[in-house]
């Protein structure tokens, strides 16, 4: 027997066994691959390519590099020039490029690029480009006569950085840094909008996750222990929100909670609050939290339910028979076994909440906006690169969270339903 295994095994018709096996398997593999191909293409087209494109946009912008060839060349030849006092040749190149931009209609594009890091430059570029073709040497005085802003060191720093196609500047802006005359610096208090909003988004998502968990736990438990007929009815109630338009649900909350809404009317009628100080529960953070909790609740209930359903009642009975009170039984035996569900539900709700856009946009007012609303704002303003950088930061944060989850709980224990 031992010698048989060392010599080459062949099939009945004399072909080597390995080869025959490979042929047989490759056919099966090809068939399997063809079956998943449509899905693969779909995922590629709708998911990987857009995300890849977004990540690329967040580090790439050739608006200035393309429009200012002379300056690009000059910056390359003169690294580390004096930003506070650029020489005449630099101004000559700038004027040449401004003329080029005017004829090629690239002013807006390059101005927008510089505007990311040095706000207020679009109009400066437009005016400069219009005047450029009439300017005579010495160009420095001539251009400064058009607008003294052209001497700002920050502007020269910005232009030098923008002369390369690839940049990390959008991330610097996205983390509240500012390009000043002396280089990049932390923004002042009033400029710290992005990090603050990130923080606020995570905080609000955390609050929503906790509220969802507290509300979902008893519901999921009830679903798991009720007899089939009644639990399916309850399940329909849980799923009902999925079958209703998000817009309808959100506007219902507006109708309920706004200052002239049903809840306030009721409270005023009951005399709990006065007519002149109605509770403001809409168009602020409260509104965002209430409406988003409602929207995301099923995403907490379902993973919890799927975990609770398979916990046999004999565990609780065993604990009780061993002398544990019902509270101890819950805390020591039931709760630990629901942890995978809690973790899965919390992860899901938190990630969904962090990226939620529509509900805060509708009911958040000024105070209830989250980071995704700001991303959307930059997209509408065509600040694609900044929007992409902010979105990439959000993505990174979520991946970090996912990694943490995997480390602490194990992704294979994730149960979503």
């Amino acid at each position: 027997m031992a010698e048989a295994s060392t010599e080459l095994l062949t099939t009945a018709d004399g072909r080597p066994l390995k080869e025959a096996l490979a042929i047989a398997q490759s056919r099966a593999k090809r068939r399997a691959f063809l079956l998943v191909l449509p899905l693969l293409l779909f995922v590629l087209l709708t998911f990987l390519i857009p995300i890849g494109y977004m990540l690329k946009r967040s580090v790439e912008h050739d608006g200035f590099a393309r429009s200012a060839p002379a300056l690009v060349e000059w910056f390359e030849a003169n690294p580390g020039f004096d930003y506070a006092n650029p020489p005449e040749e630099a101004y000559a190149a700038l004027v040449k490029d401004l003329t080029f931009m005017q004829t090629e209609k690239l002013t807006g594009l390059s101005g927008t690029r510089i505007n990311y890091t040095v706000p207020g430059t679009i109009s400066l570029f437009k005016a400069g480009a219009r005047a450029a073709k009439d300017l005579q040497a010495p160009y420095k005085e001539a251009l400064l006569a058009v607008d003294a802003e052209w001497a700002r060191p920050a502007l020269w720093r910005g232009m030098e950085a923008a002369s390369s196609k690839f940049t990390t500047e959008f991330y610097k802006v996205g983390t509240d840094n500012k390009l000043g005359d002396n280089g990049w610096e932390r923004g002042g208090d009033k400029d710290r909008i992005y990090l603050y909003l990130f923080f606020k988004t995570f905080l609000v998502s955390g609050i929503i996750t906790v509220i969802c968990l507290l509300l979902a736990f008893p519901v999921a438990h009830l679903l798991a222990v009720l007899p089939m007929s009644r639990s399916s009815l309850l399940m329909i109630l849980v799923l009902l929100p999925f079958w209703t338009s998000l817009l309808v649900r959100t506007t219902s909350w507006i109708a309920l909670l706004q200052e002239q809404g049903i809840l306030n009317d009721l409270l005023v009628w009951l005399g709990v609050v006065g007519d002149d100080n109605r509770i403001a529960a809409m168009y602020n953070m409260t509104g965002t939290i209430v409406a988003m909790t409602h929207v995301l609740l099923p995403f907490m209930i379902l993973p919890l339910y799927s975990v609770m359903r398979v916990i046999p009642p004999s565990y609780a009975r065993a604990a009780r028979s061993l002398g544990a009170t019902s509270w101890t039984t819950f805390r020591r035996v039931y709760l630990p076994q629901t942890l995978p569900g809690i973790a899965a539900g919390s992860l899901l709700v938190f990630i969904l909440a962090v990226g939620y856009y529509i509900t805060p946009a509708l009911v958040g007012g000024a105070d209830g906006q989250l980071i995704s609303n700001l991303i959307s704002f930059h997209m509408t303003k065509s600040n694609w690169s900044l929007a992409a950088a902010l979105a990439a930061m959000l993505l990174a944060a979520i991946l970090l969270l996912y990694w943490l989850y995997d480390r602490l709980i194990g992704i294979d224990r994730l149960k979503l339903g």
Binding site: P312, S314, Y315, R317, A318, A319, R320, S321, L322, G323, A324, T325, S326, T328, R332, V333, P336, Q337, L339
Partner: protein, 365 residues
């Protein structure tokens, strides 16, 4: 046998209904003595688990009273009853190690760490699982989990331990071994055990007394030997062990001796058990190993009837002879496979008989 008053566990007129329409347990009266090993045996759905759950406190009796050590426990919550319980699926907490599982009942009783450790160790040694203290239940085999479940039910020194088909998931060999161990623990610890099983062999080998359940009632409550040899009704006779049934009518009744005329006209001897009137229908039950076919083995004057050999099944230690008796196939006789044993052949005509006390005239079902 214990009387109702000094019983350790007593069910009195207990009834149970889950749906308010039908009774799952009908008028249960049962008293279990201290240190007794009582088994509830019965077909699926006969209400055994329900009785156990009522005793453990997970179901409430619809009617009647359950007493533990003289005190009514209907209102006592499960965790205050101090009853150890072993479940069919073991119910070991999957997120705790073996040691933590065993320490759990001690912890909730507020026992100190040192005492806990000694007790856990002692309980594990008792089931020969001392080396497994840091394993998780998922890392144990079925038999090992079973031992841990047993140790956990015993670690807090309960006076009463309930076991609901604890060996149901084990293979035959392991089951027999565990039966022995459970019995041994019962004897050394002096605990009272209420044991539920489907398996009559298990019930007969382990118990002091067996309560045979059917249809929510105890059909017979007796020590194993009585149950096998003196079944009180057809259900018990049929449920426990193998059994030949001959339907007939009581022809003569003198004391507890009955003469039964079978449908085909033959007369046989039997002991009247619960067929008490002359002319009444009855079902005579005879164990296969008590059937004789040699006239010299029969007592004086006992009846023998004609039989035709249909089939002989060789089973090693015994030979199963399937006969046609009184116009019906399927009458079984067991012959010891000894050296000088008479050889029978299919088609052979013989006569069979039995001692009158081995044939029991029971209710006609």
């Amino acid at each position: 046998m214990t009387s109702q008053n000094d019983a350790f566990v007593a069910f009195e007129h207990v009834q149970k209904s889950y749906d308010g329409v039908s009774l799952v347990v009908k008028d249960l009266n049962l008293s279990i003595g201290k240190g007794e090993f009582l088994t509830m045996l019965g077909p699926s759905g006969s209400g055994k688990t329900t009785c156990l759950m009522m005793l453990a406190g997970f179901e409430t009796a619809t009617h009647g009273e359950i007493r533990l050590d003289g005190k009514p426990i209907n209102q006592v919550p499960p965790h205050k009853r101090g009853i150890g319980m072993v479940f069919q699926n073991y119910a070991l907490f999957p997120h705790m190690t073996v040691g933590e599982n065993l320490a759990f009942p001690l912890e909730v009783r507020g026992m100190g760490k040192d005492e806990r450790e000694t007790k856990v160790k002692r309980a594990l040694d008792m089931v020969q699982m001392g080396n497994f203290i840091n394993r998780r239940p998922a890392q144990l085999s079925g038999g090992q989990q079973q031992r841990i479940a047993l140790a956990r039910a015993l670690v807090f020194d309960p006076k009463l331990v309930l076991m609901d088909e604890p060996l149901g998931a084990l293979d035959k060999q392991l089951r027999e071994h565990m039966q022995f161990e459970i019995k041994h623990l019962h004897e050394t610890l002096g605990i009272t055990v209420v044991y539920v099983t489907h398996d009559q062999g298990e019930a007969l080998t382990m118990s002091d007394r067996v309560a045979v359940f059917n249809d929510g009632r105890i059909q017979q409550l007796a020590p194993p030997a009585d149950l096998y040899e003196r079944p009180e009704n057809s259900f018990v006779a049929q449920f426990i062990g193998e059994n030949n049934k001959l339907p007939g009518v009581i022809e003569e009744l003198t004391g507890d001796k009955a003469l039964v005329r079978l449908a085909t006209g033959e007369l046989i001897d039997a002991t009247a058990v619960n067929a008490k009137e002359k002319g009444g229908k009855t079902l005579v039950s005879i164990r296969p190993e008590r059937v004789e076919f040699k006239a010299e083995m029969m007592p004086e004057g006992a009846h023998m009837i004609d039989a035709e050999v249909r089939e002989i099944i060789y089973m090693g230690d015994i030979l199963r002879v399937v006969l046609r008796v009184a116009g019906a196939d399927g009458f079984v006789m067991k012959m010891r496979n000894t050296l000088g044993q008479t050889r029978l052949d299919p088609g052979q005509k013989i006569k069979v008989g039995w001692h009158p006390q081995d044939a029991r005239a029971l209710d006609p079902m």
